[in-house]
């Protein structure tokens, strides 16, 4: 399951750990990079090089985002999107876990059917949005369907992989030491699979967010994606940027929470260094 693995690696931000003073320096450089980009943006926007309304200054965007949050304009949209995403992740995650367990634990079923799922996984799911619309209407249901479909695949693939990489000797040992039934699942299968499952969940959440919001920008009545595209259509570019800012802050925050939880739960793995420098 190369794709999911690499994605997780890459998404984790390359995992730059190291001695504290190193980290501090990296942190300083990061702040400098971000500040530099913001400064560039601000000055380009002020220079009048581009049409001011197309290129609003970051200060204006942040202020607009703040206003939106404060006046509660985004809240109903945020609630709708959050509902669609979490429902989709819940349904897709449950189905994906069940199917992944079946694929991972029955060798014949896995060999016959897993490639079908593997090949469906990278197909852009948004393409069947019109079909969801026909069946489920332009309300939240069609977005739930999209995020269900999107989160189903990464979770399925990582669950199947997770089951397969459980070492048989761990099951043997546990059985010899008296683990049976539910205890065997809770104390051995679950911790042995946790790493892959968490990665699957994080990827699933990412694609659930993307697919719900993308669907909202195509056709919807409510939601953050809908709001973004409404502002675009009315040419209120500063407001559009501000909604995007809110979406991105939320997504980064969520991902960071997930990543942090993963790190805590998988502390036992220890760190693997192995970074070299030459040329």
């Amino acid at each position: 399951m190369g794709a999911a693995d690499v994605t997780s690696d890459v998404r984790a931000g390359g995992g730059v750990a190291g001695r504290p003073h190193r980290e501090l320096r990296a942190g300083t450089i990061q702040v400098l990079i971000v500040l530099g980009l913001l400064l560039l943006w601000e000055s380009v926007s002020r220079s009048g090089l581009f049409f001011e309304r197309l290129f609003p200054s970051p200060v204006a965007v942040t202020l607009a985002a703040w206003r939106h949050l404060q006046q509660g304009i985004v809240l109903p949209h945020l609630a709708t999107s959050a509902m669609e995403i979490s429902l989709g992740l819940l349904i897709g995650g449950t189905l994906g876990t069940l199917m992944g367990m079946a694929l991972g634990s029955r060798p014949l079923f896995g060999r016959v059917c897993e490639p079908i799922f593997m090949y469906c996984a990278p197909v852009p799911k948004i393409i069947i949005y019109p079909i969801s619309l026909w069946f489920l209407g332009i309300g939240p249901a069609s977005k739930v369907a999209q995020s269900t479909l999107a989160s189903f695949f990464p979770i399925l693939i990582s669950t199947a992989a997770a089951i397969r990489q459980v070492k048989p000797v761990h099951i043997d040992v546990a059985r010899l030491l008296g683990a049976k039934g539910f205890a065997l699942y809770r104390k051995v299968y679950l911790p042995a699979m946790l790493g892959h499952v968490l990665v699957g969940l994080r990827l699933g959440m990412g694609v659930a967010i993307i697919s719900s919001l993308m669907a909202e920008t195509k056709l919807a009545e409510k939601g953050l994606g809908f709001l973004t595209i409404e502002y675009y259509n009315h040419f209120r570019i500063t407001e559009m940027y501000s909604i995007l800012l809110i979406i991105f802050t939320g997504a980064v925050l969520l991902n960071w929470i997930f990543y942090w939880a993963e790190r805590r739960l998988l502390r036992y793995r220890g760190s693997d260094a192995g970074q070299n420098a030459f040329f």
Binding site: G14, V112, P122, P124, I127, W134, I209, F248, A277
Partner: protein, 250 residues
């Protein structure tokens, strides 16, 4: 005892055919509204018609050329940036975690910005796809260089290679298999975002076909569009997987 591969493939085809057959049956019995779900057998007719008009190949070509162009620019830039971020370690460390955070967030959703900058055209689509697809290429390229086996580097040192020689004869070949993983991922992301935005904005190739068919309520054509996108990604994915296997064999 594992069964031979041809039996597995046979069973797999049976599963797929069975699913198609079930769809056909459900639509024929009108358990599912035929207005919303075209029968698999009618896909074939619509597919033929679109092929004969030359419409489908044309649209597929548009989509593919968008992907190709995006990759040409994005791939080259990604490799270069990734190498630079390896070369300049401090900046590399700092920016790769920023890039990682960016990659974890829904960048495709930034497409309205590209529409604002470029207008509703294919340029906007390609620019957006490049931004999405370039990130895994950059990160993975840097990462691959960082993970080159120390022993190989020492071999190069012992041979007194110049930096240039070191790069082209040791680092690059040693890192190539891992770099390709990034390229593969980048290409998949480019394909995903190009088709998604084609569909949402209603510009360009196959995505646009589906978007159009929906508004014209042309069920057959819509399904042909969806199936073609599916097939195209399937071929694309197969090709990439094969290529990766080939690269990693060396």
């Amino acid at each position: 005892m594992p069964l031979p591969q041809w039996i597995i493939v046979g069973l797999r085809s049976l599963v797929i055919l069975g699913a198609l057959f079930a769809l056909e049956l459900m639509v024929r019995l009108e358990w599912i509204n035929p207005l919303f779900l075209a029968r698999p057998t009618s896909w074939v007719g619509a597919f033929r018609a679109l092929m004969a008009e030359g419409e489908l190949p044309k649209l597929a070509w548009i989509t593919l050329s968008e992907i190709g162009l995006t990759f040409l620019v994005g791939g080259a830039a990604g490799l270069l940036l990734g190498t630079l971020l390896y070369r300049f370690r401090r900046v590399g460390e700092a920016s790769s975690s920023l890039l990682g955070a960016m990659f974890a967030s829904p960048i495709v959703l930034l497409y309205p910005i590209f529409l604002v900058i470029f207008g509703r055209n294919r340029m906007a689509i390609m620019a957006q796809a490049m931004v999405t697809g370039i990130i895994p290429i950059i990160l993975q390229t840097r990462n691959s260089f960082l993970h080159v086996n120390e022993t190989l580097i020492d071999v190069g040192r012992v041979l007194n290679l110049t930096r240039r020689q070191m790069f082209f004869h040791i680092m690059l070949p040693a890192a190539a298999p891992m770099i390709f993983t990034g390229i593969r991922l980048g290409l998949i992301y480019m394909l995903l975002s190009i088709i998604a935005i084609e569909y949402i904005v209603g510009v360009g190739g196959l995505g646009n076909l589906v978007s159009d068919a929906y508004f014209r309520l042309n069920t057959d054509e819509l399904y042909v569009g969806v199936i073609t996108v599916g097939l195209l990604s399937l071929i694309f994915y197969t090709f990439l997987t094969r290529a990766q296997r080939w690269v990693q064999r060396m």
